[in-house]
Each structure stands twice: as C-alpha cells, then as structure tokens.
Symmetry: C2
Subunit: 311 residues, 2 copies
C-alpha cells in the first residue's frame, strides 16, 4: 500500500494581494478534499477530478466559473484528465455552457473510444450523456467581464492583464500506486474564438503514467505546447530525476528556449512530489500523511496538520 499524495495548483502568474489568501485557502481545501476521497477508498483519478471541480466552481480561478472571456466575450473552456494506470485520457477543448469541463473530460475517457472532443462535438456528446449544460452568463464573473472590456481599449496590454491569471490542476497518487492528473482552464483572456491551448493536449497541460509519475502545468499555453512541458518533465523523471529536479529542468528549458515563465506540480510513483514555478506566484497545496504543505511565492512553504483544517 502506498501513502497517498494529492497536489493542487491554482495557476502560475502574479496574484494581487487581495487574492492571495483566499486562493491559498481554496487550493488547500481542494487538496484536502481530494485526499479525503482517497482515504475513503477513491482512486487518484477521483481525487484529481474532485480537486479540479472544487476550483472550477470557485469564481476566483480561471477555470469553470470565473474563466476569462474570448474576443467575443464568451467562455470557451479546455480540460484534460489522464489515468496513469492505462494512459487512458479524456479531454475537451473550446467547450461552451459547461461548468465542469473536467467531469465532461472524464466522461469522454470512460464513455467513448476517443480522447478529445471539441466545440460542437463536445456539446453534442454532453447532450447525449445528459450532462448538465448551463447558461454562459453563469460562468462569467464581473471581474472577467471587466478584464475583457479593458483589453478592448486602445493601448491595453493583454499580457499585463493576463499575468495574474492561471489554469488550475491536480496530480495524485493513491493507495494502489496509481497516479493521475487533471488540468482545467478558461485559457487566455481575449483569445481568438476557437483558440485551444496546452491544457487539453496530452503532454502539454498534463501527463500521467504509473511507470513514472504525473504532472499538471500552467503558464503561457502556446509556449507549454511547443516544449510539450508535461511530457518533458515526465521524461526527466523516467531518466531518474526527482519530481523537483525534473520540474526545475523542464521549466528552465522553457525559459531558455522561449523566454516563457510557468509552473507545474509533479509526483512520482514513489510519492515524492513538488510544486515549482518561474513566475512570481503560484498558489499550491499538497497533502500526504497527516500533513498539509502550501505556498504562493518562491521559498514560501508553510505546513500544518490536516486536523487543524476545518472540514
């Protein structure tokens, strides 16, 4: 029996002061809920789905409700979930009217012979499965709308406006030694209609393989895709690096090659884990044994006992 581990991130970038503590609270909560699910007999896959859904449902994160808007003021969401036991994967891209794309991605994995469904086909599949569709307005926060408006103004700096926003994700190892990952995002603010980023692409936004470990990434999607960041980090683990070394090496490569910052969480199949970022911030939390670890800035690693956190 392995000691379970759950690690969660709330996106790399720069967090404004007013968001830091509430984001940290939510990623801790998501990691704890995922962990409790494993303690109750759930799988790594259940844990990463649960953690992702909690963050998708929280309006402060750029995933599910709270997602940024595309050039037309709409939400188009991307998500992936991957099972390290079978390499089974489900993903949805540019999906509309779905509050929890991670859940829909899991259905793609379990109920179809395919890996990725996009846009109209993903909606069609959701309807067939009786998966709940929601009005787009229910996913749009005033904060996302305001950011979109500012970006439409002449002289706006989309990169600057983007910088505090990030994808959410989770990785887990369960008692049976299975690893899994999930990643979910609203993408880039004011993105073109139909733009798909790294998140739903296997090896970009996530990768999970019981033979090595699992990774969820966050940052500039286009750069992450070009270096296949999640697969790159897993390759480094396959060659004997620890999750921390592998993630540092992968992020450093992306910076050297493309001058792009980002972050990632990783675990290996022995239960070693890491949360690393080259951006200013990334809210993250990890639970293993009876300890909770969390942080949001470089060198910021806080700990507490699980029992100290109210359920």
């Amino acid at each position: 029996m392995m000691n379970p581990v759950v690690v969660v991130h709330g996106g790399s970038g720069r967090y404004t002061e007013d968001r830091k503590e509430v984001c940290l609270l939510e990623v801790r909560n998501a990691a704890l809920e995922g962990y409790r699910l494993i303690q109750q007999g759930g799988s790594a896959l259940d844990a990463v789905e649960e953690a992702s859904v909690i963050l998708e449902n929280h309006p402060l994160f750029n995933a599910g409700c709270g997602s940024v808007l595309n050039e037309c003021g709409e939400t188009e969401l991307d998500a992936i979930i991957m099972d390290g036991k079978t390499l089974g994967t489900g993903a949805v891209s540019a999906v509309r009217n779905i509050a929890n794309p991670t859940k829909l991605a899991r259905l793609v994995m379990e109920q179809t012979k395919h890996v990725m469904l996009t846009d109209r086909g993903a909606s069609r599949f959701a309807k067939t499965m009786g998966f709940p569709e929601v009005p787009m307005e229910s996913l749009v926060t005033e904060r996302a709308r305001e950011r979109w408006r500012r970006n439409l103004q002449p002289g706006s700096n989309p990169v600057e406006l983007q910088i505090e926003l990030g994808t959410i994700g989770a990785v887990a190892l369960d008692s049976d030694g299975n690893v899994a990952c999930a990643t979910s995002t609203g993408g880039l603010t004011n993105k073109m209609v139909g733009r798909v980023g790294d998140t739903p692409c296997i090896g970009g936004g996530g990768y999970a393989d019981n033979q090595s470990g699992a990774v969820s990434t966050t940052g500039n999607g286009e750069a992450i895709m070009k270096v296949t960041l999640a697969r790159l980090i897993v390759f480094h683990m396959e060659q004997g690096m620890s999750p921390a070394e592998a993630t540092d090496t992968g992020l450093q490569y992306m910076w050297t090659r493309l001058q792009s910052h980002g972050g990632a969480i990783a675990i290996n199949n022995a239960g070693d884990w890491t949360a690393k970022f080259t951006s200013e911030n990334m809210a993250w939390a990890a639970v293993t044994g009876d300890m909770l670890f969390y942080g949001i800035a470089l060198g910021d690693v806080r700990t507490s006992g699980i029992e100290d956190i109210p359920q």
Copy 2:
C-alpha cells in the same frame, strides 16, 4: 550548406492491391515537388506544406479531399505544421469546408499569436483571412461515403474498415539546416462529431526542432496521443539515437504498451532519415541528393534517380 532531404508518407495500415502503385506514385510526386521547392530556394516549411497539399488534393488519401466521414457523414479535418527553427506551430482541428487544412494551419502559425484553432473558431479565422472555403461535398469521395454506409450496418467492423486508411505527412531538412514537419488527416471513419486525434496535437502527430530533428506520425490517433509518439521519437534522437533507431524504439514502445500499430517518418539535423511502420503497409518516399527512395511494405526499398521521374 546542408544537403536537403524530404520524406513523405501516405499513411500506415493495409493498402489494397489496386491502391498500392497509385499511392506510391503520389507520395513520390509529393516528395519530389517538396524537394524541388527547396532546390528553388524554398524552406523546409515550404517543402512540407507543398508535399502535404499535394496529398490532401489527391482523393486516394485520408486528408483533404478523400477524407473519411464522421458519424454524421461529414468531413472534419485535423492538421499541423511545425517549424523546427523557432518551434513555431500552427494547427487546426475538426475544421470543415477547408480543402487544405495544412495551409490554414500555416496561417494560424504566421498570422495569430496562437497555435491551435478549432471548429467554429478555425472557420471564423479562415473567413477573416479570405481563405477559400469549399462545399463539404467537394471533399467527399464515393469511396468514403461507401465506407461510412457500411460502418452504419449492424455487425460492421469499423476497425477492419479503418485499417487501410491513413494520415499523410512530410518532414524536411533544407539547405540552411532547418527542419519542419506537417501532418494532415480526416481522422477515423465514423468518428464522433468533434473527435480530435493526434494529428493537430504537438508531440502527437508531429514535432520539429532544429536541435534534433523532425517527425510525422500515422496510425491509431488515440494510441499515438497517449504515448506522445512524435515527441517520444524526437527525445530518442536527442539522446543520440539515429532516426531509424529512435523511430523503431518509439513504435515498439507503442506496440508493447498499447498493442497499437503505426508508422512514422523522421529526419535528424544531419540529414539522416527513416520511414518505419509496424503495420502491414505505409506508402513512403524520400528524396536527397539526386536519388529517390520509396516503398510500401516491410523490406521494400526501391530507388531511382530523380531524373528518371517525369516532372
């Protein structure tokens, strides 16, 4: 100055006897045209685009005109193009009414800040760029329609019907030492609406990096995605394997791990090249120096001088 190389494939699987020679003729033609473009001063990127467009336009290949149909009898095409010099990439997924998705993918790379556009967003972009849209019927061959109909019958075997169909792709090295890849497909016959396979996913259907080489893959898209086959082969090249060793190793891994056959073409930045497959057939052709190499079955490697082929 490097000696240019262009390698082209017409898909892995099983080719019926009546298709073998005409497919071989077309991949030879595509490889030669790509090569001539480089000889006239074109880049590796120009060569892989040209070779892909030639095969997209030929109704015998599962790309562009001749693509298989989805469950609703429609064509939805995927394509990618990648520039090894910058890692710049363009991709389109589940795109309709486009005869040459590789050309549209190149526009995504060169005219947007994004990498992948999907479905409605890809169509919207095509309209904005004045890119030609075509009636879907112009892409549908009687052969594709017949296959789709047979698959709808009770007791049909979609895997058996799929087996002779494949993606098309090209890799090239130009005189400046730049590598590039392109891959284009109609996907799986009778696929679900919105199904996206490996082709447009960086590291799945293709990968190109001047620091190592370029790869284009073909086979079961879901399996290729799960092992990130193109990126895997490039990783092996990065670690010192020849294109042939790296491709054999990658294909063998996919077979061992997922019992899935496939094929790939690969070149490295020194001009070594390969065309490998674990399926029964893959039509391929390679041009370098004044020689043309081609084949369609295991151990079948034929050669001729370029001058022997009519322009």
